[in-house]
């Protein structure tokens, strides 16, 4: 027994040794492939992040490295009414996230259900996505300006003109509506891709069982789309918090007052025309932390649901 098992053990050990050697080689190769990506992330993301954090603790300007002031810039941000207003605006923007997710979802379901002219609508919905935010901003500046086409139309039907972008009450909702118009095509595309994974036989079965259209949507399609909805929530939230600058810059310049000022607009102003890069980096770190927390919460929700 012993005589027969010993050589077997030796073989196993040799096989194990060969396997572990192979795995190490495989791991080395994997590392080699990953290295360029890791280096890029490290050089262009991680190091600048820590470097920026270091600058945020100083009073640096473009031409002066400044002094170490600890949390001075962060305390200033807390006391800055413009930053507080920008955070409040970001809150309003976050409240609009469900609209940014559900409008594309509903349109995608309608397209998937086979409405007439499906191909045409798919193209038309996607068209604004290829336009840059500056072009979209310029178009809507002309349409919504006080002397613009919308007010021209209102006057034609006997209604008074309104300064859509110059009044504090309407500037942010109007900007959000334009942002929604310019990005919903991408959402539709994502949901259409998700809908292709919804089993057709399940929908068919529900219909044969006499389910009404809303029941098919509510009990079959939307539950199946749950991972797509969650994914869309995460990317929309991050997108709204970090990529509205171009549109706001062209449409309202952050005004009137602070009505459309978002954190990224203040960061741009502090870095450039105010020559306060250290304060700008402090605001950037705060925005990074807020976005990170929101994304972490959403990703946690996603992974929890995935394990159900």
């Amino acid at each position: 027994m012993t005589a027969t098992t010993l050589p077997q053990t030796g073989q196993v050990q040799r096989v194990r040794a060969r396997t572990s050697k192979g795995r190490r080689a495989e791991a080395r190769m994997a590392m080699l492939f990953l290295l360029p990506a890791i280096a890029l992330v490290l050089v262009f993301r991680i190091i600048p992040l820590f470097w920026g954090f270091g600058i945020s603790l100083t009073s640096a300007t473009a031409t002066d490295p400044g002094q170490f002031i600890g949390a001075g810039n962060y305390l200033r941000a807390i006391g800055d009414p413009n930053f507080r207003a920008s955070i409040a605006n970001a809150g309003v923007i976050l409240l609009a996230v469900p609209i940014f997710v559900f409008i594309p979802m509903i349109l995608a379901i309608l397209l998937d259900q086979g409405v007439p002219g499906r191909g045409f609508f798919r193209s038309v919905y996607f068209f604004p996505v290829v336009l840059s935010s500056v072009i979209i901003g310029s178009i809507f500046s002309i349409v919504l300006g006080y002397n613009g086409s919308l007010n021209g139309l209102l006057k034609m039907v006997g209604l008074p003109a309104f300064d859509w972008l110059g009044r504090s009450q309407t500037a942010l909702p109007v900007t959000l509506a334009i942002q929604s118009w310019s990005t919903f095509g991408m959402g539709v595309l994502i949901f259409l891709a998700g809908l292709s994974t919804v089993p057709k036989d399940m929908v068919e079965a529900a219909r044969l069982e006499g389910a009404k259209m809303w029941q098919v949507w509510w009990y079959v399609i939307i539950p199946e789309l749950r991972p797509i909805i969650e994914f869309s929530l995460v990317i929309t939230t991050i997108g709204l918090l970090t990529s509205m600058f171009g549109l706001i810059y062209v449409l309202t310049g952050g005004g009137p007052g602070t009505a459309t000022t978002v954190p990224e607009y203040l960061i741009w102003a502090a870095q450039g025309r105010l020559n306060q890069p250290a304060y700008a980096t402090a605001l950037s770190i705060i925005l990074f932390v807020i976005t990170g927390i929101l994304a972490a919460i959403q990703i946690r929700m996603m992974s929890r649901n995935a394990s159900l």
Binding site: A62, D163, P256, R273, N275
Partner: protein, 418 residues
């Protein structure tokens, strides 16, 4: 032997050329706007410095200071730096060379230096054009509402009377284009022109005169009152100044227009479109008159408009200084005056050939009395906040007292008092 000498000579030229020939880089936002001026400067500079070149890099207006600050921070800035006078120029002084000892002759010939003088009292940019504020008016519209087009208002009471005539004819009296907050900046300088004493102007620059102090708060109140009195067209908070306002004025949207005298906008633009006989110009009166001034006296808010400075990290400081001398020389600068219609900061430039009636009047006021542009002596942070508060004031979202208090806080941070 002959071949050896030839080879050695060629090798010497090849080695020496990169060392001898230098390129001076100038960053400027006006290159596409005034091509003849930059072409003349390039020709003159390269003629005076054979083998060296001057490279004018046209930078985008809106992003200029972001790009410049980033370049200066990473020590990759240009040799010669263009900047607007006032807060923009003053925020850059840390990265520039003081010029007082470097260009004494040229500096003695130019005016408008306060907009380019740092907190240490040294001059960091040499102004090459002046920036001032006047009111342009549409003579045809004056006639249409029953006013004498050759008698623009000289006192605040006459301004009120003139605006009443426009209101009666259901026409806006002044244009308002405050999307970027520039109209509010100009308004501050136009009103402070006559309402602040020379001492108060100096106190303002030093941060000792506050936004909540009576002379400045009165300007904020006038901003609100004139709006409430219906002097402006609707939608002012969403009109851009340099795009919408000029077009609206040329189309006859309002009778008067708080205009600019600079590289970007000036009398020549209007005279070209409307005709020199259709556009009038006058200095803006203010509701209160300072104790050291008298109402109706000609005089406009004026300061160095744009200037050139030298990057302290430049590898070609001497050439950069020579480039500035060339750009500001009477021969080269006269091209800009004649082609673009700017008012030169160099007093040795011959302006006698200018035939514009508007500019002749303006030059006369400059010779009589020029008050510093109040907004150019404000900090960048204060102007940024004034942009916001001016829009909120027009919309009725904030009271004058609260706006002044918010501006005071920003001023205290930007110009701390010991």
């Amino acid at each position: 032997m002959h071949n050896l000498k030839l080879t050695a000579a060629i090798a010497a030229i090849m080695v020496a050329t990169p060392v001898m020939a230098a390129e001076v880089t100038v960053w400027d936002v006006n290159v596409p706007r005034n091509p003849t001026y930059y072409a003349a400067a390039k020709t003159a500079f390269e003629k005076a410095h054979p083998g060296d070149t001057i490279n004018f890099v046209a930078q985008p207006d809106a992003e200029y200071y972001n790009l410049l600050n980033t370049a200066l921070a990473s020590k990759t800035g240009p040799d010669v730096i263009w900047a607007n006078g006032g807060a923009s120029a003053k925020s850059l002084t840390g990265g520039l060379l003081p010029l007082d000892d470097k260009l004494p002759d040229l500096i003695s010939q130019v005016v408008g230096k306060s907009a380019f003088t740092g907190a240490d009292g040294k001059l960091y940019f040499v102004p090459f054009t002046l920036q001032g504020h006047v009111v342009y008016y549409n003579k045809d519209m004056y006639k249409a509402v029953g006013l004498d087009p050759e008698k623009p208002p000289t006192t605040w009471a006459e301004v009120v009377k003139m605006c009443d005539a426009f209101k009666a004819a259901n026409k806006p009296c002044f244009l308002m284009a405050n999307k970027e907050g520039y109209e509010a900046e100009f308004f501050l300088s136009l009103m402070a022109n006559q309402s602040l004493t020379a001492q108060q102007q100096a106190d303002w620059s030093a941060g000792k005169l506050h936004w909540s102090d009576p002379p400045i708060k009165a300007i904020l109140q006038t901003w609100v009152d004139t709006y409430k009195n219906g002097w402006y067209q609707d939608g002012g908070n969403s009109q851009t100044m340099f795009l919408d306002e000029q077009t609206l004025f040329e189309q006859g949207a309002a009778g008067n227009f708080w205009g600019l005298l600079s590289n970007v906008f000036h009398w020549k633009e209007l005279e070209k479109v409307m005709g020199a006989d259709k556009v009038g110009v006058y200095p803006m009166p203010s509701p209160t008159v300072a104790s050291d001034q008298h109402e109706g006296a000609p005089g406009v808010p004026l300061d160095g408009g744009v200037g050139y400075g030298v990057n302290k990290d430049s590898a070609h400081v001497d050439l950069a200084l020579d480039a500035i001398k060339t750009l500001l020389s009477p021969e080269v600068l006269s091209v800009l005056v004649n082609d673009a219609g700017v008012v030169p900061a160099n007093t040795t430039v011959d302006t006698s050939g200018i035939d514009s009636p508007g500019l002749k009047q303006i030059m006369g006021w400059l010779a009589t009395r020029a008050v510093p542009t109040t907004h150019a002596n404000s900090s960048a942070a204060e102007l940024d906040e004034w942009h916001r508060q001016s829009q909120a004031l027009l919309n009725g979202d904030i009271s004058v007292d609260d706006a002044a208090a918010a501006l005071d806080k920003v001023q205290a941070q930007a110009k701390p008092q010991k």
